[in-house]
């Protein structure tokens, strides 16, 4: 089988934070349409890794390639193909759900029909004209998911995507951001069992360093647990 070009390639990625190291010498390759799950305690560098991949942070050393483009120089070329979901919903509380999505649609050159489609799919159509400040946390998260996939990205970067979602809501967003969506995904997780199930590749970070990197089917839960001790 011919080798597929990687969706994400990291080679010695290093990023400092002040005098400390946030990420040190991270090297890995993610094939297209597969899922990389990143485990590790708080402060291990998971969010930093996602932000570097999202072109929001530049690497201090090492090489980063996303969809064949080298960051940070060619970041502009891949920005429109990356979807980023983080702890902050990146939504304006004083605007309505629909207005927020339309704002992002304009910024990404996406038709408004897509906004309506997504609102329907996550079950927010009825509340779409209410201000986001009136939404529950679960609704905000659902709207944030819409924002992340609005422009149909090839790569999804998800920082604890199921936070604040009840099982019904999680089901609604699953086709959009789950493994079945066919996109390349990098997901952070604090759930060893659940995380391993959806992963193709598992990365364990601690203190910015790679403690574990292996295909998910060869990793046991207890190895993930060990990261937290």
């Amino acid at each position: 089988m011919a080798a597929l070009p990687a969706a994400i390639e990291l080679d010695g990625l290093t990023r400092r934070y002040g005098e400390r190291v946030a990420l040190e010498d991270v090297t890995l390759t993610v094939a297209p349409a597969t899922t990389l799950v990143v485990f590790g305690p708080n402060g291990a560098g998971k969010s930093t890794l996602l932000r570097v991949l999202a072109t929001l942070l530049r690497p201090h050393a090492g090489a980063v390639r996303v969809l064949g483009r080298s960051l940070p120089d060619d970041g502009w070329a891949v920005r429109g193909r990356i979807g980023f979901l983080t702890h902050e919903p990146l939504l304006y509380r004083d605007l309505s759900g629909r207005e927020n999505l339309r704002f992002h649609a304009r910024l990404h050159g996406v038709a408004f029909a897509r906004v309506e489609e997504l609102l329907e799919r996550v079950g927010l159509r009825l509340r779409a004209d209410d201000r986001v400040s009136t939404y529950s946390r679960g609704m905000v998260q659902r709207l944030a998911v819409c924002r992340a996939v609005l422009h149909d990205p090839d790569v999804l970067l998800l920082d604890e995507p199921r936070a604040n979602l009840d099982p019904a809501a999680a089901d609604l967003v699953e086709p959009l951001i789950g493994a079945a969506s066919g996109r390349t995904r990098v997901v952070t997780s604090h759930d060893p069992a659940g995380g391993l199930v959806e992963a193709d590749l598992a990365l364990g970070l601690r203190g910015g360093r790679t403690e574990l990197l292996a295909p998910a089917d060869r990793v046991q839960s207890h190895e993930i647990w060990a990261l937290y001790r």
Binding site: T55, R58, L67, G80, T86, Y92, D94, L95, L107, G182
Partner: protein, 249 residues
Amino acid sequence: MSAPATEPASTAPDAAPPEPRYVPLRTAVRALLRKELALELRAPQAVPAMALFSVTTLVVFHFALQRGVVDGDLASGVLWVTLLFAAMLGISRLFVADHEEGGLDGFLLAPTDRTALLVAKAVGLFAFLVALEVVAVPAFALLLLGPSPSFGAYAQLAVLLLLADAGIALVGTLVGAIAVQTRTRDLIVPLMALPLLIPVVIAAARGTSPLVLQGGSQGLEVRWLFVLGLYDLVFGLLAYALFDYLIED
């Protein structure tokens, strides 16, 4: 062969990276401006505060100067100090909404030129300043101004105001972007912006003085327009060159 831009990630091998998506500057600026104005209309913060502050300042001036009317140099000074200090409020608020609601990241993820944010913020601040003046100038004329300038004089004042507003908007966008990252935001803005705006004060105040003379308005000296124009040009170029460094990373 590269995959078409709108299909989801395909599993066929790609020979080249996918086509970059790109949204033109004008579209991005329009989108950002709409958002700015929508937010200000929906949850008014900057403009009402600035307008109210300017009226209050005029009242304070009345008591501080112990006069019922002012004209000439004094009138010009009162007007410009009032406008400038009210502008400080607007500048302090300029990036706060984005900073607090993570909106800046939302923009940084978009496939467009960073300069769009500079343009949108500067135009937005310019619009807020014009809105401020729509309230402040009549209030000034009503409360403190002795002479009644002719329509022509008001027209010349308007030109001066527009040029000065452009300078304040550009400096305000730069300083506002710096200040929003500091912990002492409301202190840093006036400390940094006021010295930078002194050339604007000089040109604007000097230019306004002959327009509000007791004995009847005399013409506006064109050199003050040139000074303001030069200032706007220099700060426009500076902002264009430096703004990206303030919002990246």
